[in-house]
Symmetry: C2
Subunit: 182 residues, 2 copies
C-alpha cells in the first residue's frame, strides 16, 4: 500500500471574514471516487515561543479564551502578519504580550495546527535569556497575567492537568526536548 | 489585575454544514467595550490515543491529510459521535484505524484544540497492551499505513521534525509523562 495525495478538481471560498476563511474543495480520492464537499479552513501562519527568562523560568500567559469560555495558561503566541517573517512575528508577539525580549531565538520545529481541517502552519521557537525591556501592550480582547515558572513547576502543572491548550502542550514538548529534559 | 470572562450579549450560527459550524458572538469585554463579531467554531468532541502494543511500541498512523496536502505521522484519533462516551469513542477509533484493542485504557488529560477560535474539547488516553484483534476498517478518505516504533525511535522522530501534527505532539507529551519518560 502506498499513500497518495488527493486530486483537487475544483475549489471555492464559501465563507470569509477577516477572522475565518473556509474553502470547499471538490476532490478525487485515491480509489477514484469524487467528493464534492471537503472543507478546509485557510488561516494565517502562527508563531509560538517556549520562552525562558535569564534565570530559566518559563513565561506563561494566563488569559481568558472565549472559544472555550475558560481561563488558560498558555505560552506566548500569535499570528504572522502579511509580509512579516515568522522570526520577526514571534519577537513582536513576545514584546507585546510580555514586555520581554530574548537574547537568543532558535527555531525548534514547524508543525500543523489541525491538518485534517485547516492549512494552519506553526513556527515554534525557543527564546532564551528573556529580559524585561518594556511594558505589556495588551488590548481589551487580550488581557494577560504573566506567570514565571521553573521547569519543575511546569512539569507539575502538566501532570496536574493545569495546562489545557493543545498548542502550548506541543510547544512544551519541543521546548523540553531542546533543553535536554526529554 | 484579575482576569474576567466576557459577557455574551447575542449569539447566532452564521455558517453550518455537517463538518463545520461557525458561531458569531456579540460580546462585552472586561473594559466595557462591545465587540459584535467574535467567531467561534463549534465542533464535536475529539479523542486521542497514545497507544502502546504488548511489546511497548507506539502505534503511529501514516496518513494523507488534505488540510495541508501532506503525509503525516499521527496517533490514532477521532471524533466522539453524538451520544457516545469518549472512552467508547477511542476504543472504536483504535479498532477502526488500526485493528488493535487495548488491554488497559487510562484518561491522561483533557485539553482544548484551539481555545482562541473553537470550542473543541479533547480527551487524551493512554492505551496499553494493545493487541491486533481485527483488520483495519478504513474508508476512501482515510487510508492509513500503520507504523510501530519504540519510545527511542519516537523521540528520534520528534527531534528530526518528522512528527508535524500539533495534536499528536500534545498527546506524546502526556504519553511520555505517563510512562515516566518526562
Amino acid at each position: 500500500m502506498t499513500l497518495k495525495k488527493w486530486k483537487v478538481l475544483a475549489s471555492k471560498i464559501v465563507f470569509e471574514n477577516p477572522w475565518i476563511r473556509v474553502r470547499q474543495d471538490k476532490v478525487k480520492l485515491p480509489d477514484g471516487t469524487v467528493r464534492k464537499d471537503y472543507f478546509v479552513r485557510e488561516t494565517k501562519r502562527v508563531v509560538y515561543a517556549f520562552a525562558l527568562t535569564e534565570d530559566n523560568k518559563v513565561i506563561l500567559n494566563n488569559q481568558y479564551k472565549h472559544g472555550v469560555a475558560d481561563f488558560l495558561k498558555e505560552i506566548p503566541a500569535g499570528i504572522v502578519e502579511d509580509g512579516e517573517r515568522p522570526e520577526a512575528a514571534i519577537k513582536r508577539e513576545l514584546l507585546e504580550e510580555t514586555g520581554y525580549a530574548p537574547k537568543r531565538l532558535k527555531l525548534l520545529a514547524q508543525f500543523y495546527g489541525d491538518p485534517t481541517g485547516s492549512n494552519t502552519r506553526i513556527w515554534c521557537y525557543l527564546a532564551t535569556g528573556c529580559k524585561k525591556v518594556a511594558e505589556q501592550q495588551t488590548n481589551p480582547t487580550e488581557i494577560i497575567e504573566l506567570e514565571f515558572v521553573t521547569i519543575a513547576k511546569l512539569k507539575q502543572y502538566l501532570k496536574q492537568g493545569k495546562i489545557n491548550s493543545q498548542g502550548t502542550l506541543a510547544a512544551i514538548l519541543h521546548g523540553l526536548a531542546a533543553i535536554g529534559e526529554l
